[in-house]
Symmetry: C2
Subunit: 198 residues, 2 copies
């Protein structure tokens, strides 16, 4: 059976998603073909709408549909405390903890010399501006406990020395080499409590 071009294109699209191999992509594409046409169109619209409406908050880098994200606009959040993460979805994991009331700053990645990612490609200048403008007193560097995460944390501690800001690092409870995104709330809560100065 010659593969149908639109089916092949759809399998390729699904295969670009994280954690989706060829077999899974084929199952997903088949299930789209089994859908009612209007359901498939609704699915396509959901992707288009999200891509159109959601953008990064120019202040912290979290996802938002507005000019500023909900957390940056929220006067009840503690602006003196800022949690620095590599990606927006890691910030979502910390919101699940419920006892964190500070703000976030998304770096947009981690320093990785082997992949040619230097500090200049991360949102570090924006963080410096925010320290001054928002009066940040403490920064919790919540990068993953990996080589790249540690490198980024140490670099931040160094570069933020001239500022009057306490820089701490998530420490307690995170198994080394793991992915932040999949950590449970309790582990994240312990990690917040057990943070240590750099």
């Amino acid at each position: 059976m010659k593969e149908l071009p639109t089916y092949v294109a759809l399998v390729d699209s699904f295969r670009k998603l994280p954690g989706v191999g060829t077999r899974s992509a084929e199952r997903m594409a088949s299930s789209v073909l089994e859908m009612k046409e209007e359901d498939a169109f609704e699915f396509a619209s959901a992707i288009e709408n999200a891509a159109k409406s959601v953008h990064k908050c120019p202040n912290c880098g979290l996802y938002t549909e507005d000019d500023l994200c909900e957390i940056c606009k929220d006067s009840n959040r503690d602006k003196s405390l800022c949690l620095v993460v590599a990606t927006a979805k890691e910030a979502v994991a910390f919101e699940g903890v419920n006892d964190y009331r500070g703000t976030y700053h998304v770096l947009g990645g981690l320093i990785a010399p082997a992949k040619g990612i230097g500090p200049e490609s991360l949102r570090i200048e924006e963080l410096k501006s925010r320290i001054v403008e928002e009066g940040i007193k403490e920064i919790i560097v919540a990068t993953a406990p990996t080589l790249e995460g540690e490198t980024t944390a140490l670099f931040l501690a160094k570069i933020l020395e001239p500022f009057e800001v306490k820089v701490s690092r998530l420490g307690y409870g995170l198994p080394v080499g793991s992915s932040l995104e999949f950590a449970d709330s309790l582990t994240l809560s312990r990690a917040l409590e057990g943070r240590r100065s750099l």
Copy 2:
């Protein structure tokens, strides 16, 4: 963090796919947000195009972008031999075997009284017409080795008795209770060889 409505809608859409739980759906939705806007639009178009272009062959029920599917149009296929499957993706699995040169007939499901699916909701009348019109001499009932698959096979054997057609059943090599879709080519090849009359 209040969830963004377009993001939530996208997560819901992904969650409807087979084998995708909440966590996977969230990862997929996040990866769409991380895509360049044009890539996300291309993904949406791939879904729309497949939903628009692909439909079921009116003769055998396989997916096609044309009026008839490639196999029904192919004069090199052995029209006297027809393999009956529950769904189109199971037919795709048999095409992977390479030594099957007959045609297919997609029932569109299996008889499942418990779920209220009776023979009348399957494409059985269409199969009868094809036996006469295409001169089918042998029908291989390739339904899964489950209760519903066996029921459907026995029902077909019974209802096709008045026709001069040999009805056989996939038998050899398929572990009971398994899913046809995930069987490897060798197992499927053995199952074809070891088919038995009903």
